[in-house]
Amino acid sequence: MLHAAVPLNWYLILSAILFCLGLAGYLYRRNVITVFMSIELMLNGVNLSFVAFSYKFRQVDGQIFTYFVMVVAAAEAAVGLAIILTLFKNRQTLDIDDVNSMKD
């Protein structure tokens, strides 16, 4: 047990589990901030599989992709949270079920 090595599959399955948890949060939560954080969780799960494949092929390219995902996530967080601020200023709510004027 002490000297056993971890199979690479475990990292990929962990990444799939995190992605599915993010997906569940995205579908089931109604607070817009929690929905947004679920998206970040999905991005993190995908990042883990990028880094795991970077290890598998002994190449740095997967880590570069992770870096770009981080940059995009930072930009997305800035714009998304500004949208949430504007939403709250105009509607005084964070519940996505109350923001359905485009639906009906």
């Binding site: 056993a4 990292y11 579908l27 940059v71 995009v72 996530a73 519940d95």
Partner: protein, 166 residues
């Protein structure tokens, strides 16, 4: 040793992820997300990605999550209310996600050789020198494009945050 480290941090990540999904208050979800990101940083380190591990802690757990916490406190967000009625999608969703997870795990187990293992220190290509070299030679154009993206995001955030929509 690496098995124990992996199991400990994988369990922390999964428990924090479940906690993120089931908590009703956004502050608890945000703190759970920080737990996920911190344990993922350790896993990146075990996969030989030192630079990404540092960036994970600084950018994700540091910058992005502080932004989230500031917005949660600024808006004084409380716990979300109960769902009025269980929709059709909510009933079907969990089994579908479970099926998806099982399918992905099956494909991973079937396609990848099980003999492939991760040993700490076997791949040391993820240091800042190698990342920087790849970033400024092979990936120079995407790197320059991200600067434009960040500029657009800054301008967009400022415009959105001060505009009054009728």
């Amino acid at each position: 040793m690496s098995v124990i480290l992996f199991l400990v941090f994988a369990v922390i990540a999964v428990v924090c992820g479940i906690n993120l999904v089931i908590q009703r208050h956004p502050i608890n979800s945000a703190l759970s997300l920080i737990g996920v990101m911190g344990s993922l940083a350790v896993l990146y380190l075990m996969l030989g990605a030192e630079f990404i591990a540092a960036a994970q802690v600084i950018v994700y757990a540091g910058a992005i999550m502080v932004l989230f916490l500031i917005v949660i406190m600024l808006l004084n967000a409380g716990a979300e209310g109960r769902t009025r009625r269980p929709s059709w999608g909510a009933i079907v969703g969990i089994p579908l996600i479970a099926v998806f997870l099982g399918l992905v795990s099956f494909v991973i187990q079937a396609l990848l050789p099980k003999s492939e293992t991760v040993a700490f220190g076997q791949f040391t290509g993820g240091n800042a020198r190698n990342i920087g070299h790849a970033l400024f030679t092979t990936y120079l154009l995407p790197f320059e494009l991200t600067s434009v993206l960040i500029l657009i995001a800054i301008v967009g955030a400022i415009v959105l945050a001060r505009k009054e929509i009728d």
